[in-house]
Structures are given as C-alpha cells and as structure tokens.
C-alpha cells in the first residue's frame, strides 16, 4: 500500500514536471501588415494567424477564432523572428579555458534566464540566439540554442529543446594565445591547431573502436570483457564524427578555414559552419562546396591582426558563390539591430531585400539545423514573428512587437523603464557601465593575461 502511494506520488510529480517543462504557446491574429515571408515572397495587406504557437494560416481577410486576440499591423512590416547564429547573451560563463579540447562542457548548464540582454534582443526583433561557448579552445564546449521566452525563471524554459546539438571550435589567434602563450602548451601556431584536431579525432576513433570491440565481445557467451573507461570528452568527439553534432567554428583566415575543411573531409564530417569567417571570401567556393556555410559580421575588421585583410563585401561574395551565409552579432549590443547589420549587404554588394533578410532568418536557421521549424513565415512553422515600423532594412526601422511561439514578449508601447526581472539583493547602488563588455568570446580567460584592457581588444 505504501509502495503504491510512493509510486503514485512519483507518477504525479513526473506528470507535473512534464507539464511545467512544457513551453508556453499562444495564439494571435496579426492583421493587414506587409508580410515578408523571406522564402515565399512579400504580401501586402495580409494576415498571419498563429494558433497554439504555430503559424496556422497566412492570407487575406482572416477571421480571429474565438478567444484569439488581434493585432493591427496596418502600415507595418511583419517578418520572421530574427535568429542570431552567434551570441553569448544569457550565459553566466563563456569559456572553459583549461585544455585545448573541452568538448564535454555544456552551455546549457550556465544559461541565465534573468539576463536583461534577452529582453534587449527581443526589442530588436530577435527570437532565437545561439548561445555559444567562447573561443579559447580548439574544441570548445557544446552550445545552447535559446528561444527568448523572457520572464521565466527556469533556464530550461528558454532552451530550444528540439534544436540539434552544436559545438564550438576555434582556430587562429585565440586558442594559440590562450594555450600556446598563456599556458605554454600546444597549440602555439596554426600547425598546432590542426594537430590538436587530428589527434583528437583519431583518439576518438580509437575510443569508438574500443567500445565497439567491447560490445561485440560482451555478447559472446561467457564473456569476461571489461568495458573501456567512459570518457565524455571523447564520446562527444565520436558524436561529431557520427554526424550528431553541428560544428560551429570561430575562424578568420582563409588558410585556417581551408585547413578545417580538409580535416573535416578526411574524417567524413559534413556538418560544419564557420563563424566570423572574415577571410571566408577568399575560399568562398570551397566553403560553398563542402560546408554548411559561414556566419559573419556585417562590417567588423581590423580589431586584431587576423581580421586586417577583411572586406565588408564578405557576406555578398560568400552568398554569390553559393555558400549559406548568415549575419550574426557576437555582441549584446549588435544583437539589438541585426536587421540593420543585414541591411549593410545592400551597401556592400547590392543584395536584394529577400537575400539580405535571409541572412538573419532562414540562413542562420539552416546553420543551426532548425529551418524546418523557424526562419521564415510559412504555415506550420513556429509563431516567431517580429513587427516593424518601417521596412526592417531601412536605417530608420523601429521594431514594435516580438512574438515567440505566438506569445508577445516585447511591445514598444508596453515597454517599461526598468524591465529587469530580478535585482541582486546585495546591490545597493546600481553600477554604471560605460564601456559595457559587449563582446564575450574571451570572457573568463582574464587571469591568463596582463590587463583586462588588453583582453577587451582581443575579445572578438
């Protein structure tokens, strides 16, 4: 009897926790806007009906089902929620800089749903961000894809649970500086970076074989086989080799990009996206042929030597060569105006409106493996929508409302002066930060270097 009670209680609590874990979904009818679907053209005076978090219908003169609120978007632009393929918003820590390979680390463990940066991103129309590990390691930790469901205190609620696994890699100056110069171990050069990768993957293959051998032996009658020691780091590398994880690699120079393409081809890896990729334009045909493309800055250059030979035409060259190209922020500031960053591809390369918008919607969705769910306004996709006053590619555009799964998380008319969810109980005077540490790729490696200001300059 007691046992049954305990079982019942267990069942109940399990059910409850399942229902808690379920993400909130809403319904809304957005009326009479200019609808920028990105993938299927632009429609004027058109409605978008979202029901239970999913886009139900896009068309003219739709009626709101009972209980569904209506938003008047007359004269406004309705576009898919913006997706940032490179962000560190809502992360308490960014780098586990203790070894050249730290594949076992998970950003899911350090997600902070209270960070005001989430709300500020929503105020820029951004509904999804790729919360990445930093660039201190050749193989960094596993990233988290976030949905900006602002207001929850549970980190689980802002993690996009059905997004595929991704992992951070980094080449060039950052890992060679941290490990070669900071810790006195490999890699100190781009040669060392390649060696770390090849050694790591070969060790992973040996590890995989050891387990396969064990599993084979185990099934034999009277087997006395002993299981190999479990190693999360190597298992994660095996998962990469098995195509279960998408690599997102911090990279700048063409030679290192080409190196990783060769390493990936040698190990049969095709789920590979380059991040930053400032010199991607020099190997655009190779990136287009062998990878899932590049996620780049619109115009950042010259802040460190490996980005000195950059061009703001990078995104346009990559795109014209057939590479999947997205534009990302890597910054708590830039994430607020990715629509404007995407618009720079019109100044630098004359991209069309749809081409420019695809760089912050469907293209990053493809690179994160979530393009079947988000990244365009299509029936059946998630109700992630941003409404703009003015065309989003105009420099004068102002985001008005942002919906995630049909729920409104930002409305310019309901914006309060203080949008924080939580104020630190120990805080008496609120700190004023003039040069907010926007760029956090190298956060948590400060102790390795002389001054924080030197670090600030090598951040990106």
């Amino acid at each position: 009897m007691k046992k049954i009670n305990i079982l019942l209680a267990l069942c109940l609590s399990l059910c409850l926790s399942f229902s808690w874990a379920q993400t909130p979904k809403g319904s809304v009818l957005i009326k009479n806007g200019t609808v920028l679907t990105v993938t299927n053209g632009t429609y004027e005076n058109t409605d978008v009906l979202i029901q239970d978090g999913v886009i139900k219908k896009i068309g003219k003169d739709l009626n709101a089902p009972s209980g569904v609120t209506t938003v008047d978007a007359t004269g406004k632009y309705v576009m898919p929620g913006i997706i940032d393929a490179h962000s560190h918003v809502a992360l308490d820590v960014v780098n586990e800089a203790t070894a050249p390979i730290v594949a076992e680390v998970r950003m899911k463990d350090v997600v902070n749903p209270y960070e005001i940066g989430i709300y500020r991103a929503l105020a820029g129309g951004v509904t999804i961000s790729h919360a990445m590990h930093g660039s201190a390691n050749v193989v960094g930790g596993q990233n988290a894809t976030l949905k900006h469901r602002w207001g929850s205190s549970n980190p689980e609620d802002i993690i996009m649970q059905d997004a595929p696994r991704t992992i951070k890699f980094a080449l060039g100056e950052n890992p060679t500086r941290v490990h070669g110069r900071g810790n006195g171990i490999q890699p100190r050069s781009r040669m060392g970076v390649e060696a770390i990768l090849r050694n790591g993957f070969n060790e992973a293959l040996q590890y995989k074989k050891a387990w396969e051998d064990f599993n084979k032996a185990k099934s034999q009658k009277g087997s006395t086989a002993v299981a190999p020691e479990y190693n999360e780091r190597l298992q994660t590398l095996v998962d990469i080799l098995d195509g279960k994880i998408i690599i997102h690699c911090h990279s700048y120079r063409a030679d290192e990009i080409y190196m990783l393409i060769n390493v990936a081809r040698d190990f049969g890896i095709d789920k590979l996206v380059f991040q930053h990729t400032n010199e991607g334009f020099k190997v655009a045909p190779e990136i287009a042929e062998y990878t899932m493309g590049a996620s780049v800055f619109a115009d950042w250059w010259a802040y460190k030597f490996e980005v000195y030979y950059s061009t703001a035409f990078n995104a346009a060259i990559l795109h014209r060569n057939g590479a999947i190209t997205s534009i990302n922020s890597d910054s708590a500031e830039l994430i607020r105006h990715l629509y404007h960053e995407a618009a720079k591809t019109q100044r630098y390369g004359n991209l069309s409106d749809d081409e420019a918008l695809s760089m912050i919607t469907i293209n990053p969705a493809r690179q994160l493996g979530i393009d079947d769910k988000v990244g365009s306004l299509e029936e059946g996709k998630h109700g992630d929508v941003a409404i703009f006053e003015g065309h989003p590619l105009s420099s004068y555009a102002i985001p008005q409302m942002t919906f995630v799964d049909g729920i409104k998380y930002f409305d310019i008319n309901e914006d309060q002066d203080d949008q924080r969810q939580q104020v630190s109980p120990t805080e008496t005077v609120e700190p004023i930060l003039l040069t907010e540490h926007n760029h956090r790729c190298m956060q948590d490696t400060e102790h390795l270097f002389e001054t924080a200001s030197a670090l600030f300059q090598m951040n990106q």
Binding site: F281, A302, Y303, D417, E430, P431, L433, M458
Partner: protein
C-alpha cells in the same frame, strides 16, 4: 666578352620600360583637384534648405556657387541627375588614423604613458596612409576629430579632413585639449573597485585637476605679462585653455559626473565642450542651461545601466537636442567610422528627426569647433567637402557616387572594394587545379 656584355646590357636597358610595364596592373587613380560642376541634383544645403534641380560649382578647394542657374564655365561637368548632394559628414570623436590594428600595441598611438599629457598631439600621430581612411571616406564621412585617450589630460585632439599625405595637409583648423573628467562609473565588468575606492579615486583626480588648472592659470598670467618661464610643456598646453586659444573637450558620461563637471567649469572662464555624455538625457535641462555644447555617441550602444530602457543610447541625442543642447555626433570608432551615417539614422529614428540628425553630423560640429563659416553646409565660400549619393546616405541601400574633400575628387576605392573585385569570381575557382 666585354662586347657581349655591353650588347646584352644595352638590350636589357632597352627592355626595361617594357619589363616595368609588365608589373603594373592598371592605372592608379589619384585624388585630383580642379574645377567641377555637380549638375542637376537635389542639394541638401543644411543651412539654406533643399534645392531641387540645382548644381554646385567647385574650384580651388572651395564651393564657388550653388543654385539652379550655374554655368559650367570651363569646369568638368559631373551629371548628378536623380541624385542627392549633402555636405561631407563630420565625426566628432574617433581614433581614426591613430590605430591600425587595435590589438597590436605597436600600431596603437592614441594613448601615452602618464596621467597628465595634454601636450601630446594627436595630429602628429595620425597616419595619413592608414587603410581605414579610404575605407571611411567612401561612406561620405569627410572630416573627423582624431582624439587621444587615457589619463586625466591625455592630449590634444585635432580635426582632420580625410585627404592628404601629411598631417598638415589634413588639418582642418581645430584643436582641443582633451580631459577625462573623474568618473564615478565603472570602466567595465572587470572594474572591481569598491564604491568607496571609486569615490576616493574620484576626489583625488578632481583635486589634481584643480591644482593643474590653477598652475595653468598662473602660467598664463605670468607668460602674458612677459615673464620668462621654465620649460613646462604640459602646463603650457593647459594654459592655452585658460587663454581660450583652445577649448577643453571634457569626456564625461554618468549623470552625477555631468552635474559635477557643469559645477566645475561654472566659474572658469574657458571654452568647454562635453564629449560622451552617455547619460545626458538624465540631466539634459541642466546641460542646456549651462549652454555647453555636446558631442555624443556612439548612438548604437548599450544603456549604461541594467535598469535603463533598451533604447537609452538611441534616444539620448534626440532628448539632448529637444532640451536645447547643441549636439554633434560621434562613433568613437577607429576602423568603422564609416558607420557614422547609420548612427545618425538611429538618432533620427529614435526622436531626433532627420533634419536635426543631419545637423549633428554637419553644421553643429562645424559651429562647435568655431568653423561655422568654413564647414558643415553647402554654401558659396565654404570648403568643398561634399558627397553625391543615389539617395539618403543614412540608408544602407544608398550608394555614395562621388566624394569631394577639400575640393579633391576622391577615388571611390579602398582595400575592401579591391578585395571584392578580386574575389567575387575567384580565378582559379573551385574546380581548377
């Protein structure tokens, strides 16, 4: 043997020009001056309204004539039909030319050792051949303040035009002594000083500043009475602020610091410009009442406090302007000064309005720098700094078609564009081997 050598040599010398030619990959386009007529455009003069179907005549570096009935009179005619003409934009706070690659210390020249170095001249450290200069000017930014940073009095800032091969050719006629007003704010997340320590640091810095200004005053009084003074370059430079030869450009951002700075300068008979002024919106009326002009930006920036509205930095310039403050904009950038028009667009959209935003990157800084009769608008007699664009240059889709600086027609190329030309269709491409 000798003869063979001689013949061979003659042969070689004869071939030299051809061999040299083989190394040259096309004509190099240089900035060139002359007489130009920019014909039949919509001219946004900034100070004298918008003139449609108008032309601008340029000669000897100056604007000669603006209007609808301007004859070419031997000038090279540039058809600008369907296009807009604006004055070149002025970025009122940058480190352009003072740093080439920010993370490489050897290329960074905007910061000196020492807390009191007002005699450090940004103008001498500007690299006229910085790759960032041609990258900047094709965006329509023709003139910038190059400003040192660092200690209490980090050096002397200078206004430069983005054409020329020596600092003197680039100098646009304005300098200011820079000051970092003692700040109660934190320098960033890494700044882990206690509130008490920050207060202590502040009080000491302000005491130092007072003593230095007092010394400068004495120096000025003595030197103006013809006294023979010891070589004291720091104080000699500060004395130029006392004599009003140079204004003091005070970097101040937190609201309480702005209030303190207003108090600090109140009884000093000097020319003052505030820069930064990130929390200016909190005390906009007080700044307006003090009559101190403001250089603010970047506009595309995070709020200074977690509790601030997300658009605090976007709206700051507009709120200051509405309160009656004379506002100029800056990017505070090095290699991306080219984004000034976009910062101005954000200010315009978030409350400032297009007209005021244009003034904040043209005539306002010109007037703040005492150059209102030379720069910042399209008027006869002014320096020929102007841009021709397909449409509103604040929009990213607008293409800048012509740039004139100091009357020089600027070639619209730079490394970014050359890399585009080389790599859009790469040869060899993927399949060639």
């Amino acid at each position: 043997m000798k003869r063979i050598n001689k013949t061979f040599l003659t042969f070689l010398i004869a071939l030299l020009p051809m061999m040299a030619m083989a190394q040259i990959d096309g004509e190099f386009i240089k900035p060139r001056t002359g007489k130009f007529l920019l014909q039949n455009a919509t001219v946004h003069t900034i100070t004298k309204g918008v003139l449609s179907g108008a032309s601008v005549l340029i000669e000897n570096g100056k604007i000669l004539q603006v209007g609808s009935n301007v004859s070419a009179d031997g000038a090279e005619v540039i058809d600008c039909s369907g296009m807009v003409i604006y004055p070149g934009m002025i970025d009122s706070g940058t480190t352009l030319g003072l740093a080439e690659v920010s993370s490489v210390a050897e290329t960074v020249d905007y910061q000196e050792i020492g807390n009191v170095t007002p005699n450090m001249q940004a103008l001498t450290a500007v690299n006229p051949n910085s790759e960032a200069i041609p990258v900047t000017r094709v965006s329509g930014v023709t003139t910038v303040i190059a400003k040192p940073s660092g200690g209490l009095f980090p050096g002397t800032a200078a206004l430069i035009n983005l054409v020329g091969y020596t600092p003197d050719q680039m100098y646009a006629g304005f300098k200011a002594v820079a000051m970092n007003f003692p700040s109660s704010a934190r320098r960033g997340r890494f700044d882990r000083r206690s509130d008490a320590d920050i207060k202590k640091d502040n009080e000491k810095a302000l005491k130092d500043a007072n003593e230095l200004m007092e010394k400068a005053k004495q120096y000025h009084e003595l030197s103006s009475k013809g006294a023979e003074l010891e070589y004291y370059p720091e104080i000699a430079q500060l004395a130029k602020v006392i004599s009003k030869e140079l204004p003091l450009m005070i970097e101040v951002n937190a609201a309480s610091d702005i209030q303190n700075a207003i108090k600090w300068v109140k009884d000093m008979d000097i020319r003052v410009i505030f820069s930064g002024v990130k929390e200016g919106w909190r005390v906009a009326d007080e700044i307006a009442e003090a009559g101190i002009p403001v250089i603010t930006g970047p506009v595309q920036d995070l709020p200074s406090r977690q509790s601030d509205r997300y658009d605090a930095a976007y709206t700051n310039a507009g709120k200051l302007a509405k309160a009656g403050v004379k506002v100029a904009l800056r990017t505070n950038e090095t290699e991306n000064v080219r984004n000034l028009p976009f910062h101005a667009a954000f200010a315009a959209a978030y409350g400032m309005g297009k007209e005021e935003a244009w003034k904040a990157v043209t005539i306002n800084p010109a007037e703040i720098f005492g150059l209102g009769d030379q720069l910042g608008s399209i008027e006869a007699g002014k320096v020929a700094n102007l841009i021709v664009a397909t449409e509103d240059p604040f929009e990213t889709r607008s293409q800048i078609m012509h740039v004139f600086i100091n009357g020089y027609r600027i070639p619209l190329s730079n490394r970014h564009i050359r890399l585009y030309q080389e790599f859009l269709e790469r040869s060899p491409d993927l399949n060639a081997n």
